[in-house]
């Protein structure tokens, strides 16, 4: 193991370690922009320059491997000035209207400039042409803010395997974007927003819809309800400098109420509803396949709650669409139920209601405006905010988040089981489904310690588990002795590999949970930046804590779910469900 000194401190690290990594071991921070965890450094930004004794020019620490006897100085005059110059040059080419930029105070370039004490930009660089891309419902791109760090290219091509954006042209005229500097809608983009989640500056952001929400709240004729996805409560705190993984459910509810929503509800409620519908759909498919020997039943069944995944499947794997559960996502089930069942209850017309959702996800903005999503006769979900937007909105409302007392969700669309909480993380939907399906089929308690199916938890890309059904209640006796095989996958490039195996017949399962974003919704494209694996794990354990802290931890035990079937839906997969809670998919051209 090579031994070297960094700022005169000795450090030993494995062959192949970079200076940046070695420095981190002894708690020396070196600024970076283009560097990304888990990926080969590309050395594009030069913000990480350090001095190495005996080498004339400063070197990029992210991509320079350590050597025996190396003497590195991260803080010498040479190193500091070199880095400062790099940042000054970036600023000189940058359209720096910070006051008007949605990344103001959450911008890596801005904080680097501040940290380095840059007071004056000594050069007047040529600014690149502004291409403002507002072509999609989810994202806005502004090339004048782009610093060509290429993090988005890495994420879109390597993590998601979609490849909507790539460097176009060369030299100073390089633009990071879709083919021939076109707009995002000219190529296939699943709207996942993972690019926006890694962009260090304001070059890719969610389409900001905060003003639309204020407008609805300000309109006395509108009854405005809000739903919050499971993953929000584990991340919203980060917008207010709480540690990742701090649960802020109660404060979030109070904040929403103070902002002025007429009712504060939970997407968790419809997550429970999804489990009932999806679980029943799975059992129905299994029955058709195993008892009626119907060859046309598509198995494995794939989950449908992730709109980024749906977009991906429609373009990349149209042949797998029949396998995807027809259940709408919990967001859309909520919208449909709110504008029918709930509207009736409070004596309002659906057109006088505005349904707002807070989602960890930019693809949800796209999903809400799909033409199929209007079962109430109107667009079921009107406005979708990301976690980041809610954070900004709470500030706009002048609320001191820290001082808010805990509130509870309203009834009847606010109560949920612990199973719904874990919808927000990879493995959670599957675990929630198994808790319910197992008990329906066997009539026995779910046999896993603390109800957790550990093989499908965690950040590994593809996970699998199986559950043997030893005995059943009479209705489901055809499942006696069956080993239910399930898989869980997240991150679209992992999804691609698994789908190829399913299609070729190399892998067989009964049921697969698919989530578009790495880590699931807790790592969604609308979550507070920056999400790395440490943050993902912290948010996941927060959701498991939320689940374990609840008295009811299985969707079918939620009394309000029982009630909505009694009063309104009648039965799972029934006529009303079919009308309001289920949908269909369309193959799309892949570009």
């Amino acid at each position: 193991m090579p031994k070297l000194t960094i700022n005169n401190m000795t450090v030993e690290a494995e062959e192949g370690t970079t200076i940046l990594q070695a420095a981190k071991k002894i708690n020396i921070n070196i600024p970076t922009l283009c560097y990304m965890q888990n990926f080969e450094p590309i050395g594009a930004c030069r913000v990480c320059l350090v001095e190495v004794e005996g080498i004339r020019d400063p070197v990029a620490s992210c991509s320079t491997p350590i050597k025996e006897g190396m003497k590195v100085y991260t803080n010498s005059k040479m190193a500091r000035e070199a880095r400062k110059l790099v940042v000054e040059l970036l600023l000189s080419e940058h359209e720096g209207d910070c006051q008007l930029c949605d990344r103001n105070e959450d911008c890596e370039l801005q904080s680097l400039a501040q940290e380095m004490g840059i007071k004056l930009i000594r050069y007047q660089g040529e600014k690149s042409r502004r291409i403002l891309d507002e072509s999609t419902p989810a994202l806005v791109r502004d090339s004048a803010k782009c610093i060509n760090c290429r993090r988005c290219v890495t994420v879109c091509n390597l993590i998601q395997g979609v490849g909507s954006i790539f460097p176009q042209g060369r030299g100073f005229k390089t633009y990071i974007g879709p083919a021939f500097n076109g707009t995002l809608d000219s190529v296939t983009c699943v709207q996942c927003g993972q690019c926006a989640a890694v962009c260090p500056v304001g070059a890719i952001s969610e389409r900001d819809q905060i003003d639309e929400v204020w407008k609805a709240i300000d309109n006395p004729n509108k009854f405005v309800v809000v739903q919050t996805a499971p993953a929000i409560r584990a991340a919203l705190g980060e917008c207010f400098d709480y540690e990742p993984g701090t649960l802020v459910t109660g404060k979030m509810v109070t904040a929403l109420r103070k902002i002025g929503f007429d009712a504060v509800f939970d997407t968790n409620f419809t997550a429970d509803l999804t489990i009932i519908e999806e679980g029943t759909e799975l059992l129905t498919r299994l029955k058709k396949a195993l008892v009626e020997k119907d060859k046309n039943v598509a198995l494995p069944m794939l989950t449908s709650c992730s709109p980024g995944w749906i977009n991906y499947a429609e373009s990349f794997f149209p042949q797998i669409l029949p396998n995807i559960s027809t259940c709408k996502s919990p967001q859309q089930m909520f919208g449909a139920v709110a504008k029918t069942f709930y509207a009736e209850k409070i004596g309002r017309k659906p057109e006088d209601m505005v349904v707002v959702s807070v989602m960890p996800c930019t693809a949800k903005k796209y999903e809400a405006q799909r033409p199929e999503m209007n079962s109430s006769g109107y667009q079921d979900v009107d406005i979708v905010l990301t976690t980041r937007e809610l954070g900004r909105m709470i500030r706009q409302a002048g609320l001191d988040f820290d001082q808010l007392e805990d509130g509870v969700m309203d009834s009847p669309l606010g109560q949920s089981s612990g199973a719904a909480d874990i919808f927000g993380n990879t493995g959670g939907v599957m675990e929630a489904a198994l808790r319910t399906v197992y008990e329906i089929v066997t009539g026995k308690d779910f046999p896993f310690p603390k109800l957790h199916v550990t093989p499908i938890a965690g950040l590994q890309g593809v996970k699998e588990a199986s559950v043997k059904i030893e005995s059943t209640v009479p209705d489901w006796d055809f499942l006696k002795g069956v080993e239910l095989k399930v898989a869980v996958v997240h991150g679209l490039s992992n999804v691609k590999k698994l789908m190829e195996k399913i299609i070729s017949g190399e892998a067989t399962y009964h049921f697969i949970e698919v989530m578009c974003c790495p880590g699931g919704c807790i790592g969604g494209g609308g979550q507070p930046r920056l999400t790395d694996d440490k943050v993902r794990n912290a948010r996941i354990s927060a959701l498991y804590r939320e689940d374990e802290g609840k008295k009811l931890r299985k969707s079918h035990e939620n009394p309000d779910i029982k009630k909505i079937y009694e009063e309104f839906l009648k039965k799972p997969l029934g006529e009303k469900s079919h009308e309001l809670l289920h949908t269909h998919y369309h193959a799309q051209e892949k570009i």
Binding site: G163, Q168, G169, A179, F180, V187, T188, K590
Partner: protein, 172 residues
């Protein structure tokens, strides 16, 4: 690489061109770095790289269209617009530049009434700039297809182009 047939054979139908491209694709598809020779071949047979061809290549190689476009826009020898029968490249490398390459470029632009990257309406000429063709001793230089014209003066531009218009350009 296989010899590419040139685009001037106007009797060949588009379908046949795609068939030729398919054969080439079959051979180069799985080679690392195969994209560039495939694009070169496609440009040679189609004359340029229309969107339809690029999307076709992207589908066949299972590569995102944005990546294919990124490669095409990185190299100046690829063109996404139809090119004229004669491609004029004016050298703006250092030697040519100091010896008046810029003036030559202006004279060509004025003569053809087109800008860099464009093609004349009669599809006879396209204009590009180059970065040194290795004839610095004889700067300034322009290249018309494969023909090198040395020590060009702005006043001679019209005469040189005139020969191509009259069909005797290649004999110059």
């Amino acid at each position: 690489m296989k010899e590419a047939t040139c685009a001037c054979n106007e009797n060949v139908s588009e379908g046949e061109l795609f068939e030729r491209l398919d054969k080439f694709l079959l051979e180069y598809k799985d080679r690392p770095g195969g994209l560039i020779p495939i694009l070169q071949y496609a440009q040679a047979i189609f004359g340029y790289l229309p969107e339809k061809v690029l999307k076709y290549v992207s589908t066949k190689l299972d590569k995102p269209y944005s990546e294919v476009a990124g490669v095409v826009s990185f190299y100046s020898f690829f063109s996404t617009h139809p090119r004229g029968k004669y491609l004029i490249r004016v050298c703006l490398g250092t030697a040519c530049y100091v010896r008046g390459g810029k003036e030559i470029l202006d004279a060509v632009k004025k003569d053809l009434k087109i800008d860099v990257g464009e093609t004349t309406q009669d599809r006879l000429f396209s204009l590009e700039v180059g970065r040194c063709f290795g004839a610095c001793g004889l700067a300034p230089v322009i290249l018309v297809n494969e023909n090198v014209h040395r020590r060009v003066k702005p006043s001679k531009v019209n005469e040189i182009l005139g020969a191509y218009r009259g069909g005797t350009g290649d004999e110059q």
